[in-house]
Amino acid sequence: MLMPPFELYLPVSITAACEKAAELLAGGFEFDWIAGGTDLIPNYKWHINSKPHVISLANIDGLDSISMTEVGCMARLHDISESTEAHPLVASAAGKVASSLIRRNATIGGNLCLDTRCFWFNQSEEWRSSIDWCHKCDCGTGADCRVIPNQNDLCVATYQGDLAPALMVLDATVHLIGPNGPRKMPLVDFYRLDGMTKNVLEKGEFLLKVTFSADVSQMVGSYQKLRVRESWDFPEAGVAAAWVKGDRETLKVATTALESIPRRHDEQVEQAEGDIKQLAQLIFKAVKPVNNTSLPPRYRRNMIKVLVKRACSE
């Protein structure tokens, strides 16, 4: 399948990348960043919100660092999953993404910035024309959301990244950079509803790296992924939990693939006061998946209880 026409830029430094971004922004040109491409390229092939310009991060050296406290945006998921340097929870979550071949291309930056997904949306141009498009990619038609019809302003596409919940429970910080300079924030503040807004990245910005505090190595936990096949599949629901080894008071739990953004459930953890069953029930109440992935939302939601229990078990 041919890609729609676009011009590709391959800057060799972060500065050059930001300059190119600034230049395109100034010219009023729309563009996308591309990291591993495993999310963007299928969407482009299907003519989903493709842009006339694309800036690749592939040729910038030094973006693929992997250590306990820092992972660069271009670190490939395969390398993270095989790494003895990375936090075991990060490595294990990375190893559960898609397939071994996709992980060779896919990057942590791309996984965190993964576009939201929906079976009315992740389809070819011809297919989407047959449903008269949808809100997330309306092709100028002002089309309605197909999941929850008769509302024109919310996109409920599902975020199905695996790494975000694992990084959230490890208190990761994301570092962004763009023409307006760098900034950083806790990963939990990175995501923004809805399925189209997705995150706080501003035009021209990209996610540069993820860092952890030095004591992250003290943390243990697990990531539980619900999927039909143990290869290829995006999570139908995912729960990560982590705590400082030997101190369950520090428990943090986050979920993915249940809403348009991944979410850490600090409030529920606090309310549950260490009762995992209670915690599972509270999170169950807090998230409301919709019908736009392979498995029905009722089931995915109910599985939260099982996944939370398993993620929190030592």
């Binding site: 729609p4 026409p5 011009e7 491409g37 291309n105």
Partner: protein, 200 residues
Amino acid sequence: MVGEQHIAMVPTGPSSIWKASVNGQLKEVLAPSNSILLDVLRDKVGTLGVKRGCDMGTCGCCTVMIDGIPRLSCLTLAAEVAGKDITTVEGLADGAHLAPIQQCFGDHGGSQCGFCTPGFLITAQALLNNNPNPTNEQVECAIEGNLCRCTGYQQIVESIQAAAAIHRGESELKQPASDPHPDPHPLGPDDPTMPPGHAR
């Protein structure tokens, strides 16, 4: 049939020279900057052994080795791998001499319709290059991104393990198919193992 903001496929963007070493040979072709490696390899370089199955990264039929790493060429921008060392299925054999992995896929039923085979071979060869002694679990993990609809994978795993044994030097590459019949009685009637009454 298309929305108002239809993304026109023509004119295609400006083309430039794309260079890479494909199966040990330097290839230079003219390609637009948005080109996908799979398209360049099939349509420009002519390595038609690289197969297009799903075009979306699921089937693994398009896997090629880039600097020794198995990668999905359908999800790789050609420009990003320009100048690198690319090995396709055509580059595994040494002329008419099959690599052990190729011979074993034939001998152990790892290939039926054969369409996914090039991808499996590349993935498997990349695995064996790094680890000639893989466990079955490691083999399964390595090929989990390749889809085969014919074999049910079992004979593929057997093929890879058989090739691994050759790589480890534990068994020998079978006679090439072009030698159909090693003579069991090279000494003719003088051969002590010759059955009685055998033709002279």
